[in-house]
Structure formats: C-alpha cells, structure tokens
Symmetry: D2
Subunit: 320 residues, 4 copies
C-alpha cells in the first residue's frame, strides 16, 4: 500500500483484514497516515468483484481457499504467498506441513519472475509471486544454468534474511531481545523455499538439480544476502562468466550485475537485485552473491512489477 | 583487561600503547573506569622484562618486530595477531600483503587452540593465539576430519562476523551508517584466515585440504556464525556423526556440542563455542554450524585460556 | 542465574517456572548450557522452604500472593517486581491497574537501593529490589536532593530504555521489525515507576516532589540512559555541585561519578551506574545524566548486591 | 540525488565533490547504480552557472565561501548547512568555533521552513535549509508559541538522533562498535542548533526564549525523536491545546498532528513530521513529541520541498 499510494493513476479501493478489520489502515500502519484513507474490512469476494487487480498476502493455506472465488471475477490475481508456487500437492504438504485443498490451482498460475517469464506474465490472470529467498537465489543462478556453466548437483546456498521476512509476528523468537546481536540458521534441510527454488531451476536446466539451502536470521529489518557455491562443469575464465551474466541482465530494469561485491544497503527500499560473480581460487568453485530488499523485489515490489506488466504500464512505474 | 581485572590473583602491571600513550586506560576505555588504574605507556622491552606473561595485540607486521626482544625475558608470550600463525614467509606475504621480517619465528610458536594442542600449550613460551574465524571453523571441522568422515576437498565455509572483528577502527566502511541494516561479503578468495584454517586442517588430516572461505560483515558488535558444507566420504547416519562429535568434545570445558541449531546470543560474552551437525537431505552433504564470541573464544578469552594452561591455573579461571 | 552460576560458593537449588515447567533450564536459556544443570519446576512453597535466599521475578500482582507463604520459611526474600515498592494500595492500584491483595506487605519490605539503605538491607528478610528506571533516576538525583541544591518541583526526567526492560515478551510491538530503527515514548504521565521514584525522593527530601517521567523505548537490548533537568534553588558553581556528588559517591563500589558524559556501553554487563552533572548555560538548570545496565544494576545485579549485603559477603562478589 | 533521480521532470546536471572528484557517483553511492549516470567533478562556479537550482551540502565554513560566487548566476541556491542560518557573526563564531567570513550573507537568506515562511520561500533566490534538530523542535513548539500558550523561558528539549545526522564520517566514535548497543548525550549546552532554534522561536514569540537543548546519539541510522517540556502560561485543557495544533497544521502537507504517541518508523524515508501533545499530570507541564527522518524532512526532503515551492511545482512532488 505504501508503494501503491504514491501514484495517482492507481486507486486502492479495498483493504481487507481479519483481526484488524474495522480499524483504519493508518491506525494499524502509522506510516500510512494521510496516505491511505481506508478502513480494513473483512474479506468478501463480492466486495472485490470487478477490480482490475487483487493482491493476496495471507498465511500459507489461506490463499488456496480464496482464489477460486475470485477467478473470473477480477482482472488479475497476484498471490504473494506460497500456495500457488509448487508443482504438486505432495510437495506442498511435505514442506508446508498441511494438505493442499485446491490442487487444481497448482500449475495454473504463472510464476511471476519477470526476468524469466515476462511474456507469460503480460497475459496472466493468476500470478504466483515468487518467494523472497527464491527471487534472490534464482536470479543468482539463472544465467549460469541457462548457459550450462555449472553442474546442477550439489549447489550450496547460504542466505541471510532480515526479520521482516517472517511477517508481522508476535513470536517470542522474533522479539527484539532474542534477535538483536544474534544470528541463527533455521529449517536446515526443510525450508519451504527449497523446493520452489529447485522446481524453477529444474525447469530452466531441463534436468534434475540438487541444492542445499540454509537460511539464517540476522538482525536487520529488510534485506536478503545470498551466497552461492556451485561447481563449474569445466574451467572457464571469470571474464567469460561475467560476460554471460552481463549479457543476460543487460536489459533488465531491476537487475544490476557488476563486479563489486554486493551489499544490502544498496538495494534497501528499492526493487533492485544486485549480483556479482567470482571464481574461488582454492576450490575453483563459482561463487555468486546477490542482494535484494525482501519486502520489495522479494515481495511487494515484484508484485507491482508484475501488475505493471499485466496492465501495460511502464515496468518501473511506482518502483523508483 | 576487562577479563583479567576481575581476578585478584592476576595483576596487570603494564599497559602499552602507541597513539594513546600517556592517557589513563579508563579514559580510552570508559568501561574500565575504577577497574584498571593504569596509564598507557609506550612499549619498551625493558619495562616488561621479568613479567610472567605478555599479551600482544598489534596490527599485522608489528608483533614480529617485538617478539625477538622479549623471548627469554618473560615467562610466556601470547600473540593475538597473525604474525606467528602461518608456516612460511611466502604464504604470509601473499595474504598479509607485506614481507615477513622475522621468518625464523614461523613454526616457533605453538598454535594456541587448546582443543588441539593442550599438552604443547602447557609447556609453551611462545603462543600464536588463533584467529577468530579459524577458531570457529577449525572447531567445527576437527572431529569430522580426525575421524576421516569427510572429503578434504571442496569444503565450503560461510562465516558471518560482527564488526568488532575489525578492531577499533575509523574506516568509513565500518561506520555505523554504512554497516547498520546491511550485510556484505568481503575478501572473497583472499582472506588471510583461509591459509591459517587450511594449514591447521592439513596437519590434522595429514593430507591436502581445499576450502572456500567467504567472510561476511553483519551488523552486530560481537559474534561469529560459521556454516560449513562438506562432502561425506561415504554415507554415514547422522547419529554416528553426532557421536563422533560428542565423544571428541565431551571433556572440553568450552565446547558445547548439541542438537539445537546454535545461535550467537548463547555465547556472547562467554568463552564457549557451540556446535551442531546436520545431514542436508537433498545433497547428502554434512552441514556444521558453530558460534563463538569473536572477542572471547575468538581472541582474549582463548588467550586467557592459554595463559591458564601455561601457568597451571584452572582452565576456566576468569572465563565463566 | 547467569551471574550466580559463576561462583562456587553459591548454589542454585531450585528454579521455578509456569509455562516452562518441566523443561531443562538450558533449553529455555541456551546461554546457560553446561552452567545450570537444573530443570524448571512449578512453584511450590514447600520446595523452597529452608533456602537461604529466594529471588522472585514475576509479573506484577503475583509476588504479593507468594510472599506471605514464604515469610519466616526462608532466610531472605528479594522481590525484583513492583508489588512491594509503593507505600499504599491506592497508589498501586492506580498505576498497576489492579488491586493490591496483600496491602500489609506494603511498607514491610526494605527498598533495596544500597546507596540509600545499606544498613537496613544488611538486616532485611524482605527486600523490594528497585525498578530499573528508578535506580537510574534516584541515583542521578540523590546527592542534589540530600544537599538541598535543587527545587523539588517540576523536575523533568527523560529516560531511554533497551527492550529487555519489558521482559521476555511475545508482544508484536516488541518484535524486532517494530522496534528496530525506531524510537517511541510510552506511558506518558502514567508509568508505574513514576510513583516509585517520587516516593523515594520525597522520603529523602522530607517534602513533596513533583516530576515528569517520560520513558522511551529504543533499539538496544540492554541499558538505560537518563537525562534529568532540575531547577537550582540558588545559583551554585558547577564545581561545588560536582564536589557534592563526588563526596556522596566516593565510597560506593558501583557508582562512578565523573566529568565525562556517560554512555551506556561503559556499563553494559556490569553493575555500575555512571553519573555526570552539568549546568545548562541558557536556562541555568542542573542537568544530570546517568546510565545503567537495566538487567544488572537495574535488576539482577542489584539483587545480588543486596544478597551479598544480607549474607555478609563482599558487596562486589559475583559482580565484577 | 536519490530523491531527485526518481522524477523525469528534474535533471541532475552536475555533481561536485572534493576527495571523490573523478569517481562515478554510483561508485561512491552504490544505491544510485543505474540511476545517476554522472561522475563527480571538482566544484567550479562556471560549471554550474545558468542552473535553475543549486543544492549545497558542505561542512560548516565552506558554503559561505561559495555562495557569493553563485549569487545572480543561478536561479536559486539552497544551502543545507549552517552557514546562513544564524543572525550574527558573533553567534556563528561562538557555536561553530570559527569566524564567519561572509557576514553580509547572514540575514540574506530565507529560512526554509515552509510551515513558517512558505510565501517568502516562493520568491527566494537564497534559502537556508533548516537543520535537522531545529526542524523537529520548531515544528513541535510553533503552534504553542504562536498561540501564546507556553512560557518562553526554561523550555526543556531532549532530542535523540540517528547516526546519519553526523554525515558520512570516519570518526572512531561513529564506528559501528562504538555506537551500537549504546547511547550518549553530547554537546550539552553548546550544540550549534541551539541558537538556530532559539533565533527562530524568538522571531515567532516576539520576545526572548530560553531553552535547554540536549542532543543524544542513538543506534539507528535515520530519524530524530524530540521530547519537549514547557510550562503553560495558564492552565488549559488538553483538548484546547490539541485544537490549536490541529488547526495550525490542518493544511500542511507534511505535518501529521495526532493523538497517538509518535514513533520514528512511521516517518522513516518520508518527508513527514508527526507530532502529538500531552499534559503531564504531576507537573502540569506541556509535553510535545515530534519525529522526522533527519535525512528527509530534516535535510534533503525539505530542500526539495523548498525547490518545489520556488519553481511552482506541486509541494509534494518527489516526496511521496
């Protein structure tokens, strides 16, 4: 809403909520004071019928119950959660620890990564907006996999995320005193973004991919730092690898490929993904680092980028 | 000095400094007010001759000039810098970007990791206190390498460090506004702790080791989080690996091996290293995570642990 | 427990809890791993009868229900909460928003500020350990009020507190993302520590005191920064005021009065309170700043200081 | 530049620098990569002659040397530093610790606080952009002083600032490890923003004003929290005071007056100033709290707001 409210050509018509229904938006989100003069209402499909675009941002398991009631009634549905991203109900159940109750939706949505599916997004009516970690990891690996530079087996991904990635939460382990001045890895081997990353990379590679994805929680509010190690199929000079990446992303409005080591603060509050590649001299492995703002390119910004594509607006509208 | 000052059986006799010489210790370090009633003096070998123990904490290249003047004049020298840690002058020059002017010192010092060299430390008169990153990485890998569980090739180490690891610095890139709410990897492929880690692990393995070490700067003051990926030589159940680690560290006073994923805040302001091991299910790789306080187990605490060993004191004196 | 566990002359016999009963202490508090080999048990007066010392740290309203069952059965009770600190049930009810069910306890406890009541504490069996804000504010004002330097009316107190002051909490407004990179004042005019501060200062002044106490939540874990403005009764040179403070605190083991502007990091993880005084040149007001670690001098450290006094131990035992 | 670069109707023609001259803007400021394709050049009056608008952001003492060379050569000069803000050279020298070498400039610039001088700003060719602290303090007090509600004597101002207020600095005392997890007051009684605040308030009040201004450095990057205590001339119900403030700011696009206690995170990265007023019940004093982003409403945002006014653009252009 913060991003959308800045553009008079976009009108926010309805804001829905559960626990906060009945409260003014600006009471729940003081930074929207004077900018979004709406009151949260309970969700009702009838109230949003006829809208051009509906954004869904719900806990896992809830979007799958709402989407069927909206399909055909609104111009485009963009779901920011994970309910529409995986290919099978079994995979969903394994990682999200709950059954998928609308399995026909799986595969029905376009995976909304513009750098990969821009043409399809332009014609989509149902978009699965990518997860925050997957956005940073897939963009880091896409050129190398497309070009067949790296082995698809044994890829090692270490990602560091700010706390806003967990949503607005009252969990003790996300309280300031537990997070501040600390770091912890979590969900080693079973994070729900692992199969999302793998599914997309396998589609690109046309073959199986195995990767280890280790997420870490660090004491910042916004931002993801991803460091990838992968084995080259055959030795390649770093300059050649850099050329592959530079060519792949030259015309992308929101990917900045360069030779400096990326840092999160360069992308905070923006829709940019900064990427750099290195050859580690002792192991010969390819190292790729990427950074995004998990709330922008990793969530709301990418959703707006998709909205812009669907509605024929400039792709960077509202995003710079 | 903060740690040493708490024990009446230890007397801090002399505190030396360059730029701060002439100032009371408590003016430079307000938290020592009322605890260390000394004034910094310029370094002078004569002034410290006869001391039981001398701690050296200087920028690289300086300890090598001082140690020869102290040898034989004091009971024990514990150097917290990197001048005495590497085996050859060539390796030193490559990573520290300056020549080693006292190459005869290389190999003369005991590498002060009690978990590896406790017996030698007890009789040492010259100790190279381990680097902060190496402490966290070596302790994470030691049992697996000793037991021959993992391949010594292609080990991937991602470490995250708090800012105090860089010392007291006026560099713009360590200013609050540049570090806060950000993360950046640095010295990819050429950090001076890589050869230190590799040298120690190769001595343990009795063979060559290759590893990629990627350090990251994160916005905390104290703490290191290390996440290691290594390939098992042959598949082994996780319980067996846990047993190897538990047995190896059972009697270590400052290593806590467990099954919980470590977090930095559990070790801040302590000399503990917390370690846990996992089998990543998609790649089959061994994942080890370890945490230390870089200023305690990664520096001053380990130096005091070494001092305790040298002087026959309880190993945990001053450290709990 | 972290502080107590470091001294072999102290034995932690029982640790009680409600929701966490049945869990090992080190599971709830990983930093105590290997240091406190106890399991939390539900509170039971019989289980603690005969102990030398019982520390109570409970939400407001609960200590008042437990203390009567313990009186006479244990050597000394030290309550870290607010149930025993105020003089009247009416005042308690007004600020704590609940009735006081054991009003006979009010006035029965010694207010455990050693700098004010050391002799009484030595003989106490029931101690009301001071609140964190009151400790920092009372120590800042004590010498000036005792010496009659300032007017007791219209004192302005601005205090900044780290988040640990709120206890271990799952409140959304204490989550990392809501606290980080932000500040907010709270409970303007109705914080429960205002009457505690006022009551103590009025006892010292022998007359009524009015003060405005504005607490602010800031994004640090530990520490309180207090800045006080007060009107001098008559103009006094700053040197004279400094002498009053220096004389008052000369022999106090945990108050460091000086001329430098205090900073929180000098007292973090210590039992010290650092204080300085200034004359503001434009208004002529006395400005006093003080800092403490709210978890040490503002809570557990002061409780141990009191325990040391009660049991004739060195006052700084366990605290340096 | 970040703000200006988002609007195609604004063209950044020249970016000047001293030490960084010759470097691409995006090398010095990575977050501007792909957005500001300029290289820093040394300052040269000839190179900027003919520009519509010149922004000056220099250390104190430098703008006063440049402004005379630009007057009459460019459309409008907006100085973000302190050289043009004070009324007399003596006052400048006292607080900035250096002589003012262009005293004829004093009084020549319009003080660029739109809420106070909007009409004058529209016609200005030389604007002194207000300091960050003064913006937050003056907006907090303006309605109360204009309406004669408070006594102009003995006003107490406590302000908390993020570290970016000190500029891009390599000072050790602004390094992460010294600022993080700490707070310190500084320049008690002699901060250069005190006379700026006082000068403006005295113009509004038409009489002398005395105030104590205590700035504190806190560990956030952006934001100022100001808490003011003032004595009411005569008792007034809080509702009446709220009405005075609400009326005064009703049509201001960037002041949000409300009844909630302000918090910094509601204004970060925006040009808003949030304000609330309270009657402290024990002292009867008026308490006003205000928050701004020191880099936006406290600096660059307000400069752009002034530019918008000068050039007849919508006042909120580029700022929401």
């Amino acid at each position: 809403m913060r991003l959308l409210a800045a553009d008079p050509s976009v009108r926010i018509e309805v804001a829905t909520a559960h626990a906060q229904a009945g409260k003014p938006v600006e009471e729940v989100h003081p930074y929207l004071a004077g900018r979004v003069p709406l009151t949260f209402v309970p969700f009702d499909p009838a109230a949003v019928a006829g809208m051009d675009c509906v954004f869904i941002a719900l806990p896992s398991g809830e979007a799958m119950q709402i989407v069927p009631a909206l399909q055909g009634k609104v111009g485009c549905i963009i779901d920011l959660g994970g309910d529409l991203r995986l290919p099978t109900a079994a995979m969903y159940e394994h990682y999200y620890k709950k059954p998928h109750t609308s399995p026909t939706l799986l595969g029905a949505a376009v995976y909304g990564l513009p750098e990969l599916h821009r043409a399809k997004i332009r014609n989509a009516t149902l978009i699965a907006n990518p997860g925050c970690y997957p956005t940073s990891v897939i963009l880091a690996l896409l050129p190398a996999i497309e070009a067949g530079l790296i082995s698809p087996a044994g890829i090692v991904v270490n990602s560091l995320s700010g706390v806003s990635g967990a949503g607005r939460s009252s969990a003790v382990e996300l309280s300031f005193s537990e997070v501040n001045e600390s770091v912890r890895a979590y969900k080693i081997g079973n994070h729900q973004h692992q199969p999302e990353i793998r599914t997309v990379l396998e589609q690109v590679a046309g073959t199986g991919v195995t990767l280890s994805f280790i997420p870490h929680l660090i004491p910042i509010t916004r931002g993801i730092y991803t460091t990838v190690h992968a084995d080259l199929r055959t030795p390649v000079p770093i300059a050649d690898i850099q050329k592959v990446y530079a060519d792949r992303y030259r015309d992308e409005p929101f990917v900045r490929f360069g030779t400096r080591i990326p840092e999160i603060r360069a992308v905070t509050y923006t829709n940019f993904c900064d990427i750099a590649v290195f050859l580690e001299p002792h192991t010969g492995k390819l190292v790729v680092t990427s950074v995004i703002d998990n709330l922008i390119k990793g969530a709301a910004g990418q959703a707006i980028q998709n909205m812009n594509l669907v509605f024929g607006r400039p792709e960077h509208a509202l995003l710079k």
